[in-house]
Amino acid sequence: MEKTLRLPAELGSLEPFRLFVLQCARDLAVHESRVPQIELVLEELLTNLVFHAYKEARGDVELACFPRGDAFCMRICDWSSPFNPLERPPPDLSAALEDRPIGGLGIHLVRKMADGLDYRRENDQNIVEICFRRDTQQDNRDA
């Protein structure tokens, strides 16, 4: 039950990737309360790829959505040089307004919102897997 979409790594691909993930989440009965977090994690990882991994280079991104047990998972693959987005140092959230750097918050949000997060380098690809508990409609009725 895996669905994939491969598009160029550019900002113009954000919206088709987003619509793809929304459809997959619906198909896999992900509770609607989790969807904004899934959307946000997707955007942060894709923009990170466009701006930091590929930089000036051109290439593709492949996004796969699939269930794993109770979780809804996304796998994001790219063919840029080795780049682990999860190695970014965490931002200093205690700094005053004047001292806050502009940026560095995206990956922090990814870490906070995903229930599972993993990076590996395989066959010249960077592969990031992100899982979310589905909190399905059924779970909520039982609660």
Partner: protein
């Protein structure tokens, strides 16, 4: 898609955001806020009542604007955060460094006493 509208009264520029503030729409808002910051108004209310989504690209724009207003000696408040947006503000510590009110009236009262 993001749409913005603004109105000015009693020295406060009330800027309403509606829709999605993401990597695609953030540059446009950044430009609009930069323009607003160089005007004669010194008090800004960013009304997020109809904002459904914000990503780190949007947070960057808010933070840059807050710094700009602060340096110019002005005041900035946010109001009307929906749950999804509030969660993003909380997880990034924005609730600690920005002035946030539940409603526009509450923000305006804090300024006018």
């Amino acid at each position: 898609m993001l749409s913005t509208s603004q109105s000015e009264s009693n020295g406060v520029l009330h800027i309403r955001l509606s829709g999605r503030l993401d990597s695609l729409s953030a540059p446009e808002l950044e430009e609009r806020l930069r323009d607003a910051a160089v005007g004669h108004v010194r008090r800004f209310l960013l009304d997020l009542s109809d904002l459904d989504y914000v990503s780190s690209a949007g947070l960057r724009v808010f933070l840059a604007f807050a710094k700009l207003v602060r340096r110019a000696g002005g005041q900035l408040a946010f109001c009307g955060l929906k749950d999804e947006v509030r969660q993003v503000f909380e997880l990034t510590g924005f609730t600690d460094i920005l002035s946030i009110s539940s409603t526009a009236d509450e923000a305006l009262r804090a300024w006018t006493g």
